[in-house]
Symmetry: C2
Amino acid sequence: MRIAVDAMGGDNAPRSTVQGALAAVKENPSLTIVLVGDEQGIRSQLSGEIPANIEIVPTTEVIDPDDEPVKAVRRKKNSSLVVAVQMARENLVDAAISAGNTGALMTAGLLYAGRMEGIERPALATFIPNIKGRVTLTLDVGANMDAKPHHLLQYAVMGSLYAERVLGFEKPTVGLLNVGTEEGKGNELTKAVFPLLTDADLNFVGNVEARDVLEGACDVLVCDGFVGNVLLKAVEGAAATIFSQLKQEFTSSLINKVGAAILKPGLMRFRKRMDYAEYGGAPLLGLRSPVIKAHGSSDAKAVKNAIASAATFVKQDVNEIIQKELQKNMTGESE
Amino acid sequence: MRIAVDAMGGDNAPRSTVQGALAAVKENPSLTIVLVGDEQGIRSQLSGEIPANIEIVPTTEVIDPDDEPVKAVRRKKNSSLVVAVQMARENLVDAAISAGNTGALMTAGLLYAGRMEGIERPALATFIPNIKGRVTLTLDVGANMDAKPHHLLQYAVMGSLYAERVLGFEKPTVGLLNVGTEEGKGNELTKAVFPLLTDADLNFVGNVEARDVLEGACDVLVCDGFVGNVLLKAVEGAAATIFSQLKQEFTSSLINKVGAAILKPGLMRFRKRMDYAEYGGAPLLGLRSPVIKAHGSSDAKAVKNAIASAATFVKQDVNEIIQKELQKNMTGESE
């Protein structure tokens, strides 16, 4: 199996991507990783001999985190991100991974990898860690801003299969993000989606409120891309603000530093429990070729795990299973 | 000025409501507070003589936090919440306050207080505390699930005036909750709202992402009721989960308890900074009579501050100013 990695994507690239690729092929020697990016930068991280199952495809451009996605993808055709996705489309590799600009990866996925048959709107999934020590696969978090009811049904089917086949969750529970738990709650969209999810072949547990997501109310959370994006950024923002404020308090005096030092192992345990790096990358679901988004702050371990996710995605034929399940669930449904 | 307080609403009622009313009339002797609720329960909190500017209106029913709002308001006509709002409608009082069931208060407000002229959809506002030590007045957080662009413009005008006249913010900044900061981002709704807010007589600062709300990116945040509800619950849920997990770690051993004891003053300072009780209650904007929702966990101080908010709401003629500003801003706009 061959997987392309955008070697230039992410805050710690190319160190994290190259080191992650090395760790991945060591763990799974049947893999070949194609590192796409600045050749010199990649080689400088590959001290010594290059393993036989690491290849380099040199590119000259890089899409920055702040680049406007659509423009960047159209203009920077020789960027590491675009070339990695194009290689997947041309079947030169089985999957593509990037820890770079999320919008650009989604755009490149739509433009170059293309949509699966029957999928009008691919979805960007993400992991929200929960206190059960698992993650909630949440989709869509920003690919499709104005979703229709059957789009959300497709998200549910795709997310459920991904959670089962790639994350290894048995009969994953599926929840609908809503403003109350009772049936009949919500806006026009969620009211229309609820019966579709009830009738589908899913382990649907009903509406889930935003406050219960971190408690682990469901394995797969379905919502439109606008709401999902707000949810994700609200949770990330609240966590970041609280921790930065606590850090400020904990270092504000010598005695506080002593207290903080005592509590450090507990704080680290908590952070580790909420760390989703071990779940690998988040998939763009509904594309013809598996495309995985690794977190922008991925370290080598996170990249290695994203590669492992991509390998399972391919090995388990998740796209083919999704296609079959969609045909079963979507009979009679169309725009 | 006369203000009705639902004496039975909130987790700590009637102690918090009665004590809050007593503190309010002590601070502002020109106020008369009408405590609506179970007479015996109220009297048991009023030890000794009842001040001349505290009145009691006895009711026999209570709307519980878990009651289905519409049913509860229609069936429990002699509940403290419904009677308090009805008194406002009948001009027996100038404003009504409740720390009880939010949905029921909104329903009672719509049903009994009625909408202001020109307002199709009243909005429920709330305070989200931010690290600047202020609050972000966020609306709508759940009154109107499927909002149209001109509804959001009305929220912006009403919220901005409330922030200026009642919260005392000078030229409050207004932000539009969105998935990116650039113009042109978002769903159909936010794309249509952006130019309306740009053209209105507001201190509009553009799109605001959910992650920047706690950083205090704007004073007034505008969104549809579905998204606002998700944002609010996501922030509250993330904070509650993080603090409960930290508490678990901090009490997991004797040495951790020592560390936590050292840090306690800092933790309390942080909690106090994020405490919005001093900002009083959150308004239901767009109703004919001022109706204020105090937080369910309000203590006496929070109730006192909610009463002070209501008094300022009335004294500053906020509703009349809103009416004038709407006519100015909404010319040519209608459904």
